[in-house]
C-alpha cells in the first residue's frame, strides 16, 4: 500500500517538476534544495521561547536564500509547532524525518521536548541541534552521538551564580524551582555543585509551571536562615515569585536562571524585577560589550537584523539559540553537502565558531562546545538589563 502511495507521490512530483521546468523555459540544471526540519514551541506555555526561534528561522531562511543560498542550493526550513507538547513534538519530528526527508533537525525549544525525541533521532540517524539548555540533552555523549545543542549548559549558569554569591560572602541559599523539565534539571545542577562552592541549601521548594501564587513556598523560605533565593524556571513563574517576594516584604537577593532572559519577565514583574540578577548570553548586553569581544560582530548583526523585522527591543537569547543552531548547520552543509552522517561529523568538528551564545568549540566529548566565558551576569536596573562586570 505504502509503495503504491509512494509511486503515486513520485508521479505527482515528477509531473509537477516537468510543469515547473516548462514554465521556467526548459531550464534543466536546478540545484537541489536543502531541507532542514525545525520543531519549536510556537504556541503554548513555552511560546516565549518558540516564537522568537521561529522568527529567527524565517529571517535566516530569507537572508540565506536572498544571498544565493548555500553554494547555490536554496535552503528550505520546514517548521512545525509543537504547542509546547512533548507528544506533539515527537510526532512532528517523525513527520519531518519520514515524510519530509530532512537532512537535520533544529529544536525543540524546551528540555522536556528535547529529551522526549532523543531515541527517535538516534534511531533515524539524523543530526539534531537542540535549542534547549539542559545538559542531559547532550550527556552522556556516547549515547548522544547524533545530538548537539546551542544554549549554554545549566552547569555553566550555576557556576556563574555560585561564584557571584561567594564574592558576596553568601553561603546559605534557598532554592525555588519549577517542577517541569527545565527547573528540575537546573535544580539537580544546583544541588550537585553546591558542595564544590561550599553552599548550604537550607530550603528546597518547587512550583508548578502554571501556578499563580507562590507565597506559601516563599513563607517557608523566610522561616529559614537563607541569605539568598535562587529561582529556576521560565515565565511566568519567576515573575510571580519576584512579585510575591515584594508583597511579602522579603528583601533577600533574588537570583534567577537564564530562563528569564526575555523582556516578558520585566513586563510582568514590573517594579519587582529590579535588583534581580541572572546569568545570560551576551546578546542581551551586546551594545555594552567592548569591540574586542569575539562575539560582538555576530551579536550586533543578529540583533539589528531581527529588530529591523520584528521591532525595537524584541531580541532575546532564545532566538539566538536558533540562530546558532542554523548557522552551524549551514556551515556544515557548505562543507560537506547534503549527507546527514557527514553533517554530523562536520558539526562535531566545529571550532572557534562565534555564535550568539558564545564561541563554540565542539568535540567528540562535548556536543555543546561552550565554556565558562559564555555567560555574563546581568542585573535588572530600572527595567533595563545591565551587565554586572566583575
Amino acid at each position: 500500500m505504502r509503495k503504491v502511495a509512494a509511486c503515486f507521490l513520485a508521479m505527482v512530483m515528477l509531473a509537477g517538476m516537468i510543469a515547473f521546468s516548462a514554465c521556467d523555459g526548459g531550464e534543466t540544471e536546478e540545484a537541489e534544495t536543502y531541507k532542514i526540519g525545525a520543531v519549536f514551541a510556537v504556541t503554548g506555555f513555552n511560546s516565549p521561547l518558540g516564537e522568537p526561534e521561529k522568527q529567527t528561522a524565517e529571517m535566516l531562511e530569507q537572508q540565506i536564500n536572498d544571498a544565493g543560498g548555500i553554494d547555490g542550493h536554496q535552503l528550505d526550513i520546514i517548521i512545525y509547532d509543537t504547542e509546547s507538547d512533548e507528544t506533539k513534538c515527537l510526532t512532528s519530528v517523525k513527520k519531518l524525518i519520514e515524510q519530509d526527508g530532512v537532512l537535520a533537525v533544529i529544536g525543540p525549544s524546551s528540555s522536556g521536548e528535547s529529551l522526549a525525541i532523543l531515541d527517535t533521532i538516534t534511531q533515524a540517524e539524523v543530526p539534531l541541534v537542540s535549542c534547549a539548555a539542559s545538559s542531559k540533552i547532550v550527556e552522556p555523549v556516547d549515547e548522544r552521538y547524533w545530538v548537539f545543542k546551542t544554549p549554554q549548559s545549566d552547569t555553566l549558569a550555576v557556576g556563574e551564580i555560585y561564584a557571584y554569591l561567594t564574592d558576596q560572602g553568601i553561603s546559605k541559599i534557598a532554592l525555588i524551582t519549577d517542577s517541569g523539565g527545565y527547573g528540575s534539571t537546573g535544580r539537580e545542577q544546583l544541588v550537585a555543585l553546591a558542595d564544590d562552592w561550599d553552599m548550604t541549601i537550607v530550603a528546597d521548594e518547587k512550583f508548578g509551571t502554571q501556578d499563580t501564587d507562590m507565597t506559601s513556598q516563599l513563607t517557608s523560605i523566610r522561616g529559614t536562615e537563607a541569605e539568598a533565593v535562587i529561582c529556576w524556571g521560565t515565565n511566568p513563574g519567576p515573575s510571580v515569585i519576584a512579585q510575591n517576594m515584594q508583597a511579602l516584604g522579603m528583601d533577600l537577593p533574588l537570583l534567577n536562571s537564564h530562563g528569564i532572559a526575555n523582556k516578558q519577565f520585566i513586563d510582568l514583574a514590573g517594579d519587582a524585577a529590579n535588583g534581580v540578577i541572572f546569568p545570560a548570553g551576551k546578546l542581551l548586553v551586546a551594545d555594552q560589550l567592548p569591540d574586542t569581544d569575539p562575539q560582538k560582530e555576530v551579536l550586533v548583526s543578529y540583533k539589528e537584523g531581527f529588530e529591523a523585522l520584528y521591532g525595537e527591543g524584541t531580541t532575546n537569547t532564545f532566538g539566538g539559540h536558533a540562530y546558532d543552531a542554523i548557522m552551524m548547520l549551514v556551515s556544515a552543509l557548505e562543507e560537506v553537502g547534503p549527507d546527514s552522517a557527514a553533517i554530523r561529523d562536520a558539526l562535531e568538528n566545529i571550532t572557534e565558531f562565534p555564535g550568539t551564545g558564545g564561541v563554540f568549540n565542539m568535540s567528540a566529548t562535548d556536543h555543546n562546545g561552550l565554556s565558562a566565558g559564555a555567560f555574563v551576569l546581568i542585573e535588572v536596573v530600572d527595567g533595563e538589563w545591565v551587565w554586572l562586570q566583575d
Partner: protein, 290 residues
Amino acid sequence: MVTSQLVQYIVSGITMGSIYAIVGLGFTIIYSVTGIINFAQGEFVMLGAMIGFSLLGLGLPLAAAVVISVVLVTVVGIVFNLVAIQPARRASTIGLIIITIGGTLFIRALAGLYWGRDAVPLPAFTGEQSLRFLGAYIQPQSLWVIGVTLVLMAGVYVLLNRTLIGKALKAAAINRRAAALVGIDARRMSLISFGLAAALGAIGGLVMAPLSFASHDMGVMLGLKGFVAAAMGGFTGVWGVLLGGLGLGLAESFAAGYISSAYKDAIALLFLFAVLLIRARSLVAGEEGS
C-alpha cells in the same frame, strides 16, 4: 515566626480558595438549573480578566473597565447558551457537556489568537503596599478577592432565596418538568443561569488577575479547581461551594508550605478523585432526576 508562617499559609489559602469558590459557584448554578457541567466556566474567568486588560489598555478607568468587561462576558455567556446549548437541547446531558468542552477549546483558541500567548499584568485595585497582620503580609488585592467573594456569595444566596427569578431558578433546579407545568420557561432559566455564571466568572477573573497574571490559558487550571470546589460542595447551594473552595485553597497552601510544594496540584487532583468516588452516585442521580 512559626505563627506568622501559619497565618501566611492561611491567608494565601483563603485567597486562592475564594477564587476557586467563585469559579465553582458558576459551575453550581448552571448544573443545578440545567444538569449540565459547563466546562467553559474557566474561560469566562479568562475572558473577564483579558477583556479587562484590553479596556484598561484603551485608557478606561478601572471601575469602567470592570463593569464593561463583566457586561461583555455576560453577553458571551448568553450567546454561548443561545448558539451552542439551546439548539442541542434535545441532546443527552453528556452530549451537552461535550458541547461545553468544545466551546472551551473554541473560546481559548480565539483568545490565544486575539491576545497572543503571553501572560499580561493587571494593576491592583488599591495599591500594592502589603499590610502586616500577625507577622504575615497581606496584599490589599487579597482583601478585595475575599470581600468580593463574600459579597457575591451573599448576593447569589439572596437572589436564589428571596426573589421571584431566584425561586423560579430553584424550582427548575428541583424538578424541571414540574416547573414547566407551573409556567416556568426552562429555556429562559437556562439562559439566565449561563448569563449569571458568566458574570460571576468574569468578576472572579478581574479580582484575581492582579495577584498573578492574566493569560489566554489561565482558564484551564482555574476551571479544574473551580470544578473540584463545586463538586466538594455537592453542586448545590452557595455555602457548600464556599466551603469546598476554601477547603481546597487551604489544603493546597498547607501542602505547599508543610509537605512539599511539588505536590500542590496533586492535592487538588486527589480531592477531585475522592469527591468523584464519593459523589459519583449522587451526580448521576441528579441527572436521572431530570
